[in-house]
């Protein structure tokens, strides 16, 4: 038997696809699972632990077995549920977790060793010997376990994310969801209707129920037409609402192009963040199965899914079908299949007092107790009244009742409530605020009840928002009550599967019970129940019922399991939403970026910034050659460097001076207008936070600079101080980092170069001394700020102009300074020069150092209260003798490596003998050797001593001489020249 009659597939078109290398055909409207079933394929996968042959069980996203690797090459996606893959022409899928083939799997041998793989197997077996874990057990388990394989190639597709807002979000487009959306949207409220399926209708598509005596598809067509006319309603097909987050925020993934052979330039999936005032959970219900011996044979399916395949997809994978049901709903499957010409071998029902709904053999008071057919079901054993016989059938539909899909209702720790009436958990109290379940998700399973409940829920939701909605005319629909017997599993000797995907059997639950792993949380972890990719959608409640039977406690006392997001798997790609590679974070370019690019600069990422690292010239074959040249040219003539990335904060107000003084640990009160002072900020715990300069442009106007890395945190800290600590001060702050291009002009020719630039401004040492600052104009009227500060140890200035003039100023200066040796330099030369000068930078201000360690302990003023001052005087910090020193190799050829730790000569390297570490290192062209800055215990007393720097990672051990950190111009003569 392949295709049946009818169904919601388009038979005028044929779609070709491949599964495990074999060609098949299907139609638009098919899923991969329905097309395979229609082709008579029952075997679709292998189980996780025992590698048992498995077939499709369900017709939806709860599918535990039919997981495939979809597509090929870079687009290969493992663990894709065949039941939710919309068929497209050229689709390629492969079964997984098998070798060499699906029918013949070498690891099926695991199944023979099943007694060894019982619950808690990993915990019990791989405990000893301990050293075997990393080398033997874990690699072995990793190879054998796991389902699909990753492509190991970058994801070639595009992803996006977006934000939506609405009054009401309706989750699920079955009868309840459609009635809710219709009710709410007609009132004019902003409504979003989301459904994971590609077609609206939910169970209406899978059933033969009539609405107003006509096929349900007629009503669906009418509703869809009205939906299309309502601009305030957004219908989102192929969209899974996977989680409820705080304050009415819902996460949803829209599979925009997963049904296309290739998304092309478009987006494959979109991550939506939907903010909804109210939400209705109309997610329907999932059918339960009934464990019996060998109930995992390919061909044992859920009865409702069998019905869905027959009615919606015109597919039935066998000519002879049996049904095993403990409830009235299962009988409908027999009716529907019989109506399509399928031979019903019989309906097996444990209830004694049950009547058949139609003309089919009924085995009442009976159960299915075993199944045969390793790769495809061939017969089932029917046991009743103490007698057993075998019944031939290719497919067995099983129904053990329905579990409401309450997952989202438990996302805020809402506790499900046990309903005796429907023998299932329904959404309980304490779930997400504003979310109400309706229809089958709330245990109201008939079509009539679902339609009515949806409309009512929408009215109530809008009412809470102060909106009014009239109840729409809803069609007449069936209103049969589900009658069922409590049969949770069929006792017997063979293994009866509860959780198909993670291979958990009734025996495992018994073992967990025997080993006292009885609370649900323990049961889950001991047996791995419900911990597979399907989160136990078809298994958890059944397992709970089995445990309840064993403990003799009723189910609600045994416990409940609540579900976490996501409802179904969400790919990391879509969570990234396209923020990968270059788009991972914002990329900030300095004002001179394009100029530096034209100069052939090599760039380096510094946080979000791209900075010129060095400027190679023709003939230079190694970066060190370039950097050495830039350093020497700066120290001999004049160097130019873009230092815009250093943070700048503009501080203004009558109390600006007082504010600054409380912020820095050193005294700032005496800073005169027109002068700059070095400043060190501490954290309140007494450690160094950041350093920079503070320029007083006017009595009530300061410009504070920060390091590049800490520009954000320092600004945040300053706003905290202004708003939270000292709100009484009249002071305003703004970050001007991006507003001003700032260029460093350093070297003995710096003044001569600037003289050619400024508009009649006196740059003489007397008029504009070291640490002076001023506002001025340059280049014939361009507004600028000039600071005489030096990071390199040379006569140096920093000049700032509005950012858009930065590149032009840089070009002008290299042109005007050609005869003065003007040389652009990058961050590498900048770093070499500051190490030669002994200036601290990010490596020294790493959050673990103090002012004292930086050699600035005496700078911390005791005459005032400033942030961190009190705690910096703590006994523990003061007692730390490590201090910043310079380190020079005894043999100039030896390398100096940052990160190396320092030890006394002859001392065995270890934590107890550790004397400190090298924080910064470079090759100094000035000294013609390596050079380091580091923190050394009793550093001040060790000047001239030789110590050892150990770099065990590279097997290096180098003798270094402890020297002053100031290698260049220790008396500051050049700065003041």
């Amino acid at each position: 038997m392949t295709r049946l009659s009818g169904g919601l597939i388009d038979r005028t078109q044929t779609l070709r696809f491949r599964f495990d290398g074999k060609d098949y055909a299907g139609h638009p409207g098919d899923t991969l699972a329905s097309a395979l079933l229609a082709s008579g394929v029952r075997l679709m996968g292998r189980s996780f632990k025992y590698h048992r042959p498995r077939g499709v069980v369900s017709a939806g996203s709860e599918e535990p077995n039919a997981l495939v690797e979809l597509r090929t090459a870079a687009r290969q996606e493992p663990n894709t549920r065949a039941t939710t893959v919309e068929l497209f022409d050229g689709l390629e899928a492969n079964s997984q977790n098998r070798w060499p083939s699906l029918a013949l799997d070498a690891l099926e041998v695991n199944d023979l060793f099943a007694p060894f793989f019982a619950a808690g197997f990993y915990y019990k077996t791989f405990m000893w010997p301990k050293r075997f874990w990393e080398k033997l057990y874990e690699p072995m388990i990793r190879r054998a376990a796991g389902l699909g394989r990753l492509s190991m190639q970058p994801d070639p597709d595009g992803y996006d994310k977006g934000f939506l807002h609405c009054d009401l979000l309706v989750i699920g487009a079955g009868p309840a969801g459609l009635a809710a959306a219709l009710t709410a949207a007609r009132s004019g409220a902003r409504v979003i209707l989301a459904d994971e399926d590609f077609r609206l209708g939910g169970r209406l598509l899978a059933e033969t129920h009539l609405l107003d005596d006509r096929p349900a598809t007629d009503w669906l067509a009418q509703v869809e037409a009205e939906f299309a006319s309502l601009p305030n309603l957004r219908v989102m097909r192929r969209t899974t609402v996977f989680g409820v987050f705080d304050h009415g925020v819902f996460g949803a993934v829209e599979r925009v192009a997963d049904h296309l052979p290739d998304p092309g330039q478009g987006v494959r999936q979109t991550l939506w963040r939907i903010t909804a005032s109210r939400a209705i959970l109309a997610a329907g219900a999932t059918e339960r199965h009934i464990p019996f011996a060998n109930n995992d044979r390919p061909g044992v399916m859920l009865a409702g899914s069998l019905r869905a395949y027959a009615n919606r997809w015109a597919a039935c994978p066998a000519e002879r079908v049996a049904i095993f049901t403990n409830n009235s709903d299962g009988h409908r499957t027999a009716l529907d299949l019989a109506a399509k010409g399928v031979d019903i071998a019989g309906v097996i029902d444990p209830r004694d007092d049950v009547q058949p709904l139609g003309d089919y053999p009924l085995f009442s008071g009976s159960v299915v107790s075993d199944a045969r057919g390793r790769l495809e079901l061939s017969r089932v054993e029917v046991t009743g009244n103490g007698r057993s016989h075998w019944l031939d059938c290719g497919v067995l539909g099983v129904s053990g009742g329905w579990n409401p899909n309450l997952h989202l209702a438990s996302h805020h720790r809402g506790r499900p409530r046990w309903s005796k009436a429907i023998q299932a958990f329904v959404p309980g109290a304490g779930g997400p605020a504003g979310l109400e379940a309706a229809g089958a998700a709330a245990g109201e399973g008939s079509t009539h009840a679902a339609l009515q409940a949806g409309a009512r829920a929408a009215q109530a939701a809008l009412d809470a928002l102060g909106l009014r909605a009239a109840s729409p005319e809803l069609p007449r629909a069936e209103d049969t009550r589900l009658r069922q017997a409590a049969l949770w599993h069929v006792p017997g000797k063979g293994r009866a599967w509860v959780d198909f995907q993670n291979d958990v059997t009734v025996k495992d639950i018994k073992l967990a019970h025997a080993e006292n792993m009885r609370p649900v949380e323990h049961l889950k972890r001991w047996t791995t129940l419900g911990m597979a990719t399907d989160q136990g959608k078809t298994a958890n409640v059944t397992a709970l019922a089995v445990m309840s039977e064993l403990t003799g406690k009723p189910i609600p006392e045994t416990g409940t399991t609540i579900f976490r997001p996501p409802y179904t798997g969400v790919s990391l790609s879509v969570l990234g939403g396209g923020d990968t590679g270059r788009h991972f974070r914002p990329r900030r370019l300095t004002p001179t970026h394009s100029w530096a690019e034209a100069q052939g600069a090599v760039f380096v990422e510094v946080g979000q910034w791209m900075r010129a690292q060095y400027f190679p010239r023709p003939g230079e074959t190694h970066w060190r050659q370039t950097v050495d040249r830039e350093v020497l040219a700066t120290r001999a003539g004049v160097g130019l460097c873009d230092v815009t990335t250093l943070g700048k904060v503009d501080v203004q107000g009558a109390d600006a001076g007082e504010f600054i003084n409380r912020l820095y640990c050193n005294g700032m009160k005496t800073l005169k207008v027109g002068m700059v002072r070095y400043g060190l900020m501490l954290r309140e715990d007494g450690h160094a936070f950041d350093d920079g300069t503070c320029a007083r442009l006017a009595e009530d106007h300061f410009v504070v600079t920060t390091t590049t890395a800490q520009a954000g945190p320092v600004y945040r800290h300053m706003e905290f101080a202004r708003q939270c600590l000292w709100p009484e001060l009249d002071v305003q702050l703004i970050s001007t980092t991006d507003a001003w291009a700032q260029l460093s002009v350093a070297g003995p020719n710096a003044r001569r170069l600037l003289e050619r630039l400024v508009d009649g401004f006196d740059l003489s040492n007397e008029a504009f001394p070291f640490m002076a600052c001023a506002g001025l104009t340059v280049c014939g009227g361009l507004r600028a700020r000039l600071f005489r500060i030096s990071f390199s140890g040379e006569l140096a200035y920093e000049i700032a102009v509005p950012a858009r003039f930065g590149a032009a100023l840089m070009a002008r200066m290299t042109e005007l300074g050609a005869d003065l040796g003007a040389t652009p330099y990058g961050t590498e030369a900048l770093s070499v020069m500051r190490i030669e000068k002994g200036h601290a930078a990010g490596n020294e201000l790493n959050g673990q150092t103090t002012a004292q360690m930086l050699g600035m302990g005496r700078m911390v003023s005791t005459k005032k209260d400033s942030i961190g001052a009190v705690m910096s005087r703590r006994e523990g910090l003061v007692a730390d003798s490590r201090v910043l020193v310079g380190l020079q190799p005894v043999d100039p050829a030896d390398p100096v490596v940052a990160g190396a730790h320092l030890f006394a000569e002859g001392a065995p390297p270890g934590t107890e003998t550790d004397l400190g570490w090298i924080s910064s290192a470079c090759h100094s062209p000035h000294l013609q050797s390596g050079l380091g800055l580091g923190f050394l215990a009793d550093g001040a007393a060790r000047m001239g001593e030789v110590i050892v720097a150990a770099n065990p990672l590279e097997g290096q051990s180098v003798r270094l001489r402890v020297v002053s950190p100031h290698f260049i111009d220790p008396d500051g003569g050049r700065l003041r020249a």
């Binding site: 009415g248 805020h412 706003e719 905290f720 708003q723 939270c724 209260d865």
Partner: protein, 96 residues
Amino acid sequence: MLIPHPLLGPRDSQEFTYLGDAGLLNRPDGMAAGAEAAFHDYVYLRDNPAGVHRELWFHEQGDRSWLVVTRNTVTHEILGAELAREVALRGQEGGQ
């Protein structure tokens, strides 16, 4: 999460940077006697309530206001938000 900004209305919490307990508003006087002990408590000692908590959020990708947000740490319900500056000023008046 949505933070009800007193000036800008409901804003996504992703626009904010979190700092911690609003007790940080009450910075001790560093020049007073016993300052070290007071700062020890200020820097290191925090309540960690399961329930209502007053905490500091910075609208970093917004108007750069520091807010005191009252949040139930168990349910994430937000019971109110004020400008930290106003809370601090009120505290100073109360303290004097």
